[in-house]
């Protein structure tokens, strides 16, 4: 895995990108997206359910290529399906909405897998890193359980810990607060804030965060940037003040329909 100083180069740069759906590439979820995200930013993309936020995130993660347009990651073309530039692609991590854990592996094995695979380590060699993330995500009691034995709240945390195992510079998190109880929501908000500020265990390095949400209000805060994806249109809003002032009916609709949440 390569790590480098990327302060001057945008972490994500999309020019006229049109993104399709994972299931059907002919189904367009976002048209002509122009988006530049600097390294270290914390961006929240809002949108109603079914507007294609997850598919747009999958395109950003390089799981599916853009239908058209140019997508650059840290100044280079996004290495989609390019085996010899895998290291560059691993600068970007993805946390799925449902965790998407490997059901035949235990929680520890799920978290260890990316590190073991890419660095050719035994389970014992990967154990210290796994233990650190288990403790950080409060997953130690579940270490030897399989995902089927856990609730959805905890499965999502395992997905986060697994994505962090390779220490990505950009982390894409798909709808982290969906379906969580208040305690877990608070944990996620704190955990992502910590990642954005540069946690000690990550060498103080801030992680660039892109989060999708169907309710923007829990995410208001300083240094957060907001965008909305509705009806195939990706609209960049900027700070929370801009969100509240936006005359765009799609943004207003999103705020008006969002259920009350903790701030």
């Amino acid at each position: 895995m390569t790590t480098r100083s990327t302060e001057a180069i945008p972490a994500i740069e999309m020019r006229d990108v049109t993104a399709g759906s994972m299931r059907d590439m002919n189904h367009i979820v976002a048209r002509r997206v122009n988006w530049t995200l600097p390294a270290g930013a914390f961006c929240v993309i809002g949108g109603m359910q079914g507007t294609g936020k997850s598919d747009f995130l999958f395109t950003t993660a390089g799981l599916i290529p853009p239908v058209e347009g140019s997508y650059r990651l840290f100044g280079n073309d996004m290495p989609i399906y390019t085996e010899n530039r895998l290291g560059e692609r691993l600068l970007l991590g993805l946390v799925f909405d449902g965790g998407q854990l490997f059901n035949h592996l235990t929680v520890s094995e799920n978290i260890a897998l990316p590190l073991r695979y890419h660095r050719n380590l035994t389970a014992a060699e990967a154990a210290p890193d796994v233990q650190r993330l288990l403790e950080w995500a409060e997953l130690t009691p579940w270490a030897d359980s399989t995902p089927g034995a856990m609730g959805r709240n905890w499965q999502k945390r395992v997905g986060l810990a697994r994505a962090l195992m390779l220490r990505p510079e950009i982390l894409l998190v798909d709808n982290p607060l969906a379906g969580l109880d208040l305690r877990h929501r608070a944990w996620w908000l704190n955990a992502l804030r910590e990642l954005s500020n540069g946690p000690e265990w990550n060498g103080g390095r801030a992680v660039t965060l892109v989060v999708t949400a169907d309710d923007l209000r829990p995410w208001r805060g300083e240094n957060r940037q907001f965008a909305v994806l509705q009806e195939q249109q990706f609209t960049w809003l900027g700070s929370w003040d801009a969100v509240e002032r936006s005359p765009d009916p799609r943004v207003q609709e999103l705020l008006a329909l969002a259920p009350a949440s903790e701030g």
Partner: protein, 286 residues
């Protein structure tokens, strides 16, 4: 064809020339095109599997090699008790029928027992039976496991982590099934040959063990060993490739997994029979 447009095939002259009614021609055409598309997809999947197997053989070996041994155990070692039972039964069936038939035609000394065992068990029934049993026990499980993993988004999760699903999910299954079927075939054949003699002894056939094994040795040739190895390894490769293809290659919903399993079993049986036919031609030509 658009609704309301007139097709070339609708003209009375062309209709008259068609060998089958149009609905039948459409049906056969659709089936043929589906078959060719399936062959194309499977061929591409098999080539990709081979490519990944060769280029990434040593990559992440501490993760992937234990998976290969796990699959060999699953498609080989764990099926051994069942195969030993089948071997004993196979020896009884073949020897029982052969002795009965030879006695009827007056070949009391049974000089052909060894030859018949080699032709029936070593060349044909042993490898084919082993392949079909492993298909039934492990091949179907492959489709269900991989199809469910695909439907639940686990394959996308692997890709997001930069883990090649072909390397992590398919290669261990292909190697495991190839070596599993090869090993089980060897045990099945040995078991059937030994049990065959035991059944012949119990039927009071005047045949000493030395004579029986001399007959077996005389009936076997070098090409038997070569083709046995190649055929069983290819059976495993084909079954694993087809079952993994149907589990992984297409985006699946959970309700489609059972249909994918049925298709995989049917195509695996056809592929094994075709391979067996090719081997028979090679035997006859050699």
């Amino acid at each position: 064809m658009q609704k309301g447009s007139t097709s070339t095939f609708d003209s009375p002259r062309v209709r008259h020339l068609l060998p089958l009614p149009r609905s039948w021609a459409n049906y056969i055409g659709r089936k043929l095109i589906r078959f060719l598309l399936a062959v194309q997809g499977l061929g591409a999947f098999a080539l990709i599997t081979l490519g990944v197997l060769i280029t990434k053989f040593t990559f992440a070996r501490r993760v992937v090699h234990p998976l290969v041994f796990q699959q060999i155990s699953r498609a080989g070692l764990r099926l051994l008790p069942m195969f030993l039972f089948i071997a004993v039964a196979l020896g009884l069936v073949v020897i029982g029928q052969t002795v009965s038939w030879l006695s009827r035609v007056g070949a009391i000394q049974h000089p052909y027992l060894g030859s018949i065992m080699v032709i029936v068990v070593v060349r044909e029934l042993g490898p084919m039976l082993a392949a079909l049993l492993v298909l039934a026990r492990i091949g179907t499980a492959n489709v269900v496991e991989l199809g469910t993993a695909r439907a639940m988004g686990e394959v996308e999760a692997l890709e997001a982590l930069g883990i090649d699903p072909m390397h992590y999910l398919v290669v261990p299954r292909v190697l495991g099934m190839a070596f599993g079927i090869f090993s089980l075939t060897v045990y099945l054949i040995l078991g059937a040959l030994v049990s065959g003699y035991v059944w012949a002894f119990l039927q009071d056939v005047p045949l000493r063990p030395g004579d029986y094994f001399s007959q077996l040795a005389a009936a076997l040739s070098g090409i038997d060993f070569v083709l046995l190895g190649v055929k069983t390894l290819l059976f495993g490769f084909l079954i694993a490739t087809i079952t993994c293809y149907h589990g992984l290659a297409q985006p699946l919903r959970l309700e489609e997994v059972s249909y994918a399993t049925v298709r995989a079993v049917a195509q695996s049986v056809i592929a094994c029979v075709l391979l067996d036919a090719i081997c028979i031609i090679i035997y006859l030509a050699a």
